[in-house]
Amino acid sequence: MREPISPAEVARIRQDFPILHRQVRGKPLVYLDNAATTQKPIQVIDAQARVYKELNANVHRGVHFLSQESTDAYEKSRRKIARHVGVKDDAEVIFTRGTTEAVNLVAASYGRTNVGAGDRVVVTRMEHHSNFVPWQSLALEKGAEFEIWELTPDLTLDLNDLERILKKGRVKLLAFTAMSNVLGLITPVREISALAKQYGATVLVDAAQAMGHLPVSLADWPHVDFVAFSAHKMCGPTGIGVLWGRRTLLEAMPPFQFGGDMILQVGDQKTSWNELPWKFEAGTPNYGDSIAFGFALDYMGQIGMDRIAEYETRLVHGARARLERIPGVKVLAPANPDLHSGALSFTTGHVHPHDLATFLDAEGVAVRAGHHCAQPLMRKLGVIATSRASFSFYNTEEEVDRLAQVVKQAMEYFG
């Protein structure tokens, strides 16, 4: 790894993000809701604008110059993504609207044709609704068992618990997150997927948080079959995401949506499907945003995902230590700090997260309050809601100080 990210470098990086210089309610914006969505550097914003200013034309179908340029740019972004995540076969990279659609694609297309009555579908207790509800729904539809792999008391995952479930047999699919949007827990994807494979399960990883905050290479995940992630969680635009899937599986799966581009020949009674990846990309693609997404990857790639991870971890750990010192504040994160980065959830005694977040908002500090699309987790933790600060590489130590300072003030105000 090169030199760690310094305060001077962060200051330079922040110059690239116009929104970070906003004021909210008369105070400088302290944006700590990155797990919800990340901010975009001007390079990404300009790239998106350039598409519409210079090369906008529908892809794949046209014979004219602009259409060729647009198609090239679109497929180039697919290649960029494949390189970024360590995938050799571009055709395994499917563009979707986001992580949610990617998971739904697998549940509908792979799930419906491979999971039957009496089979088991397994998720963890901490999954985001987008990687929980599709599987619960599939299991209900098919008469399959829906199993929840519980967390340990110190808020991590124990492989022995997974093995106990796998030993019950007929586990067709395991879906789990690489990094929790609530707890910030980083999971051992390699080990988990290897174990699941021993029992013949297909493995899907929700990488929505992980892709934007950790150095991820799918080459390190040989036992994973599907990975889903979103552009907007990694400095890219909203409305575009990726499903990576193993070629052999994708080829066997029926299409998810039907229409233009995913066909080869449309007869009166029967239609043949296009090859990968286009078999799963029906309709005019969101090429404007996928091209802009490529520029987000360039941007983060230049800084280095490993350096980004190292810096963010320092910030999060610092914030955790500061918050834990405030009377009444309880942090909900893995006991082992080596497994923790990104999101920092906490409760504040009798001060409801909504009140805390509103108080912080009045000071320009943006955090999230609620269940964070993880009601099953909240229920198990015995809380109705938490507050959550989540960090990115353009946050600063000063912002960590501000968070701690204002949380303390809020505790006193509502005391």
């Binding site: 309610r25 409801h352 997260p353 909504h354 009140d355 509103t358 108080f359 009045a362 000071e363 309050a369 609620g370 269940h371 009601q375 909240m378 809380v383 109705i384 809601a385 003030q409 006193e412 105000y413 509502f414 005391g415």
Partner: protein
């Protein structure tokens, strides 16, 4: 007591709201309740239980329980004080009037006393449903209680 250099926050969290949150009125179980209804706002995590007792066309008892943000709890507390021992028709008018007031619609209701402090919630649209949860739950409770009583006759 505290450093009040945040006028925006004070506009929402008037002292009377904080007081109702810390010392809620009519909090707890209602003996001889006709019905208890739960209201839940899953989006933010407010939960409230409203228990009502009806007699001779009036709301003779109203208590609440629950956990949630200070706006929701204070609103529940103020609501129970406002509606108890009043004829049902008036209670329903008050519920509808308060809802209209918070949503910025035409409101025939003259809001006085502690309830007035909740008017500031209008400027924090995200919190309006926190303030209204107890009231819509009360509305449900009254409907169900009347049906129950009507059916048993």
């Amino acid at each position: 007591m505290m450093d009040r250099n945040t006028p925006a926050i004070d506009a929402l969290y008037r002292e009377v709201i904080l007081d109702h949150h810390r010392h809620p009125r009519n909090f707890g179980a209602l003996e001889g309740a006709d019905i208890t209804v739960e209201g839940y706002n899953p989006l933010c995590g407010d939960r409230v239980e409203i228990a009502v007792k009806l007699e001779g066309g009036s709301l003779v008892g109203c208590q609440f329980k629950g956990e949630g943000c200070s706006i929701c709890m204070a609103s529940a507390s103020m609501m129970t004080e406002e509606v108890v021992r009043r004829p049902l028709e008036e209670v329903k008018e008050t519920i509808e009037g308060f809802r209209a007031l918070l949503k910025g619609e035409e409101c025939p209701l003259a809001v006085e006393g502690d309830l007035e402090s909740l008017v500031g919630v209008r400027n924090f649209p995200v919190r309006i449903k926190c303030a209204l949860l107890p009231w819509s739950t009360l509305n449900d409770a009254l409907k169900q209680a009347q049906e129950k009583k009507g059916g048993s006759r």
